[in-house]
Amino acid sequence: MAKSNKPIIWFPFAAGGTVIAFFIPVIVLLTFMAALGYVPTGLSYDSMRAFAGSGIGKLVIFGVIALSLWSSAHRLRCTCYDFGLRADTLVANVLYLAAAAGSIATAVYLLRI
């Protein structure tokens, strides 16, 4: 038995879990307001553009989305197993690739702004 390399997966998962807990509820709240028709000034095109244009903004957005995606993907992988889906390697590959794709897309879009 050797030590597992699981930390590469688990550590971002835990970090992502923390990020989700701290950030996602309030962000959902913001877009929910937009969905209800009241767009907060911070979500206007100009402010968003300014925010996403700044270096720090890019970093925050990328961090939140990438980590949350990773965390969700990993959790979903475990959940699939718990639900009786035993093709763990396949599930893992699909989900982690999806999370990675989402993160790359995020990076690409951010670089375009």
Partner: protein, 156 residues
């Protein structure tokens, strides 16, 4: 019985008896292994349902992140596309999805903060800091952070 049962006739590597080595049995069929029903086990006890509920939040959080990526895509594509994205948010499906995501993310946050006291106990001097204090501090920080973000976003 309703539950699957199968006999263990010396199979099951992980559960083979260990030391001391045991000789064959006197007849009889040997121990009975009651398999865990792989797809329905979580109905056996409410605590497993609570666990599954926590795990399932990830579906909504994940989906919501995809929505954010889409938003970012529209933002990068210029104002008209971004405005269209904002309008699209108003669909009933989006509203329902938001409600679910909101519930899921809050549930996730609560379970996560409650867990911090287990994952990161703090010992000051001899005593451990009471777990509720650790979790409580997280809740306070969370509330403060959320208010700051709402403020920066111009809600107040």
């Amino acid at each position: 019985m309703g539950e699957e049962m199968s006999r263990n006739l010396g199979a099951g590597a992980a559960r083979e008896p260990q030391s001391p080595p045991r000789a064959g049995r006197v007849g009889g069929a040997g121990p009975l292994i009651r398999e865990v029903p792989p797809t329905t086990w979580f109905f056996r006890h409410p605590r497993y349902l609570r666990y599954m509920a926590r795990e399932i939040t990830c579906i909504f959080v994940g989906a919501y992140c995809v929505l954010l990526v889409l938003g970012l895509h529209s933002l990068a594509a210029g104002q008209p596309s971004y405005e269209a994205f904002l309008v699209a948010l108003r669909s009933p499906a989006s509203i329902i999805f938001h409600l679910l995501a909101l519930a899921a993310s809050f549930y996730h946050a609560a379970t996560w903060f409650n867990a911090t006291q287990k994952a990161m106990p703090i010992q000051l001097g001899e005593e451990f800091v009471p777990g509720n204090l650790i979790s409580g501090a997280h809740y306070v920080a969370w509330a403060a952070l959320s208010i700051v973000i709402l403020f920066l976003a111009g809600v107040f």
